[in-house]
Amino acid sequence: MGLLRRDLLLAARRSSDVVSVLFFFIIAASLFPLGVGADPALLRAVAPGVLWVAALLSTMLSLGRLFAADLADGTLEQMLLSPQPLVMTVAIKTLAHWLVSGVPLVFLAPVLGLQFDLAGREIAVLTVSLLLGTPVLSLIGAIGAALTLGVRGGNVLVAVLVLPLYIPVLIFGAGAVTASAAGLNAQAGLSLVGAMLALSVVFAPYAAAAALRIAME
């Protein structure tokens, strides 16, 4: 069985971890209308930003799962000693993380978009932006998770490190939806998210692998 299958299997057998993060996404997004009032025009205007921020925060919460369990039981050491390049291992684990934590967000987003009274076209743009953007969140998040591996207060520290790095994806992703709502072309924003995806796929696993080696020294 491959490493990808192993990670997916482990997530499936510990599904409560995964599901609770999804519920966080729903709850966090639902807090905003409660906070700002139910004016449909206002909600429609803030929806892209709110849903994107909720997605960021949910991903942040799930980053702890990425390496911590493997560190605790000694599997991470074995991965460092494996003939398979660490960059490849990190990339596969990040892919598994996205499939488990990111893809469900992409599916939930249209449902929450309806809650915010977004129009159909905006919902479509939102879904595509999250589809392209959530992998970036996992990739950059992996760097943060690796840097803070085993450090006390790691969860909050990951947030401090990773949230500033998430800002460009947030701007492009939410911006694409806002542009669409304003009658402009969403393509610019979506292409920029795509560009971030291309960059992170190429570079982030290297940074995360380097961070992992440093953490294990």
């Binding site: 520290l157 401090v160 490190l161 800002i167 911006g175 920029l192 440093i214």
Partner: protein
Amino acid sequence: MSKINWFKYSSPPAFYPLAGKMIPWFSIAAALLIAVGLYISFFVAPTDFQQGEAYRIIFVHVPAAWMSMFIYLIMAGYAALGLGLNARLSAMMASALAPTGAMFTFLALLTGSLWGKPMWGAWWVWDARLTSELILLFLYIGYIALQSAIDDRRRASRASAVFALVGVVNVPIIYFSVKWWNTLHQGASISMTKAPAMAHTMLLGMLMMALGFWMYSIAVVLMRVRCVILEREREAEWIRGEGK
């Protein structure tokens, strides 16, 4: 005249006394340049007919912003050296630079805010440069927080070096995204880059302040790195052993 072997100064025990000798010079230079700069800012540069006297804060704001970016680049450079060449002193320099860089970032934000209030009536404006400065402050804080959270010193400097390098690559991306965000959401044309048209004296004032800040940074960073050296090398022979 014999050739100076600069490489010998890359070891902490050799650098420590050298730094000590350099500090007074840079401190004096800093004091002089900042004094001249402030004099020009307050007395020589003409009153701007659009913005009145309040604009003078630009003489602190702009140089501080320059320094915040510049120091981040230098810090990332030292971090890279420390990581790649395993050079202890480079890692120490990176750690010593961070607080000063963060200070200038904060100063830029503070003065930006003080400028904004009389100008546009708000204590904070989300213009591209100020927002990017804010994110830069977050990057500095992340670097400092990561270093202090990790107990093992070697891991702390190497991990924060990786973070600094990831940050430095992201800074242009962040800046670009913030500008894009600004044009997307902009109704108001608030921009701090729309500074008053620069008279010669204004540029001179800013330049003096920038150089003064630079000298100040060098002096303070040298002082700080000496403390860092003492702290990290305290078990080493040259500190614990007998004097030469």
